[in-house]
C-alpha cells in the first residue's frame, strides 16, 4: 500500500515542482498524471505497484468535489445576476458540443 501511495504522491510532487520550475500554466496534478502515464508506458513503474491505490482515489473522487462546490454560496449574487448567460451557454454549448463531436468523428472514421 505504501509503495502505491509513494508513487502517486511522488508524481504529484514531481508535477507540482515541474510546474513551478517551468512556469507552465498547467495544474501540477495534471502534469503529474501525464508523467505517470509516460513512466508506466516506459516501463519505469509497474502497473501492479500502483493500481489498487490509484483506483481507490479514482473511485472515491466524487466526495472531494463537495467542499469546493459548497463555495458557490459566496457567489449567489453573481449567479442570480448572470443566470441568463450561464444557463444559455450551458445548455446550448452542451447540445452543440455533443452533436458536432459525434458527427465529426463519424465523418472522419
Amino acid at each position: 500500500m505504501y509503495k502505491g501511495l509513494a508513487i502517486i504522491f511522488g508524481f504529484y510532487f514531481l508535477g507540482e515542482v515541474s510546474m513551478e520550475l517551468s512556469n507552465l500554466p498547467i495544474p501540477g496534478n495534471v502534469l503529474g498524471m501525464i508523467l505517470l502515464v509516460l513512466a508506466l508506458g516506459g516501463g519505469m513503474i509497474d502497473l501492479k505497484d500502483v493500481e489498487r491505490e490509484a483506483e481507490f482515489f479514482v473511485d472515491n473522487m466524487s466526495i472531494m468535489f463537495i467542499p469546493p462546490g459548497v463555495g458557490i454560496m459566496l457567489y449567489f449574487g453573481l449567479l442570480i445576476d448572470e443566470i441568463l448567460p450561464i444557463i444559455g451557454a450551458l445548455v446550448l454549448s452542451f447540445i452543440i458540443t455533443i452533436v458536432f463531436t459525434g458527427k465529426i468523428v463519424e465523418v472522419l472514421r
Partner: protein
C-alpha cells in the same frame, strides 16, 4: 481545528449516495444534493464558508492525488487509443475546442461578465481537472465546479436522446461525443448502454482533460483580446 466541515460532508454524502444506490435517477445526483443540503444547513445555522472549510479542505486536497491517479485508467485503455487513433484524436481535439469556444462565445453574446466567461470555459472537463484549470485562468473554481456538474447531469439524463435524435450511430463516435462533452457523469451512463462506447467515453474524458489544461490558458489570452 473545527471538525464540523469534514463530518458534515462525509455524513451528508453517505446518506445521498445510499439513496442514489437505491434509486439511480439523474436528479438524485449525490454530489449536487450534498452541496445543496450543506449550503442550506450552513445558512440555517449561520456558519460561514471559511469555518466549514477549516476541516473540509482535507477532502478537496485529495483531488490532487486523485487526478494523478487518473493515469491508471488512461494507461489501461492504451489499446483503444491505438485501435481508434484517428477518431479519438479528432474527437478530442475538435470536441474539446468546440466545448470551450461555444461556451465562451454564447456566454459573451448573452452578456456574461469576465468572471463567468473564465469560469464556464472548462465546463466540459472532468470536475477535479476543471477546478484546477479554472483557478489557473483566473475563474471562480466554485462556480466552475457547479457548472461542470450540471453539464455532467445533462449528459447523463438527455445525452443519449440527443445522439439518437441527430442520428449519431457509430459506437466510437457516440462514446467520444459523450465523454468529451459530459465527462464522468456522461461516461457512467454510456457504460450502461454499450461497453465499447463507455470505454471510449472514459478515454475521451481523460484526454480532453489533458488537452484543455494544456490549451485553455493560452486560448483565453487570445479570446480576451477579441
Amino acid at each position: 481545528m473545527n471538525l464540523l466541515g469534514i463530518f458534515l460532508t462525509i455524513s451528508v454524502y453517505f446518506i445521498f449516495s445510499r439513496l442514489y444506490h437505491i434509486r439511480k435517477k439523474f436528479y438524485l445526483n449525490p454530489v449536487m444534493l450534498s452541496i445543496t443540503s450543506i449550503i442550506i444547513l450552513l445558512y440555517t445555522a449561520g456558519i460561514e464558508y471559511e469555518v466549514y472549510m477549516e476541516s473540509a479542505r482535507i477532502l478537496s486536497f485529495l483531488l490532487g492525488p486523485a487526478v494523478v491517479s487518473l493515469a491508471i485508467p488512461l494507461y489501461k485503455k492504451r489499446d483503444f487509443v491505438i485501435d481508434y487513433s484517428t477518431q479519438i484524436s479528432s474527437g478530442v481535439i475538435f470536441g474539446g475546442l468546440i466545448a470551450i469556444l461555444s461556451a465562451f462565445f454564447i456566454a459573451h453574446l448573452l452578456g456574461g461578465s469576465e468572471d463567468v466567461l473564465l469560469s464556464i470555459s472548462p465546463k466540459s472537463v472532468t470536475t477535479p481537472i476543471a477546478i484546477g484549470v479554472s483557478e489557473q485562468v483566473g475563474g471562480i473554481p466554485a462556480l466552475t465546479a457547479i457548472l461542470v456538474i450540471i453539464t455532467g447531469i445533462m449528459g447523463n439524463s438527455i445525452g443519449l436522446a440527443i445522439l439518437n435524435l441527430f442520428r449519431v450511430e457509430d459506437r466510437v463516435a457516440r462514446g467520444l461525443a459523450m465523454g468529451v462533452t459530459s465527462h464522468g457523469l456522461g461516461t457512467a451512463r454510456m457504460i450502461q448502454e454499450d461497453k465499447l462506447s463507455g470505454a471510449v467515453s472514459g478515454l475521451g474524458m481523460a484526454l480532453n482533460g489533458v488537452l484543455t489544461s494544456l490549451l485553455l490558458y493560452y486560448l483565453i489570452k487570445i479570446l480576451m483580446r477579441l
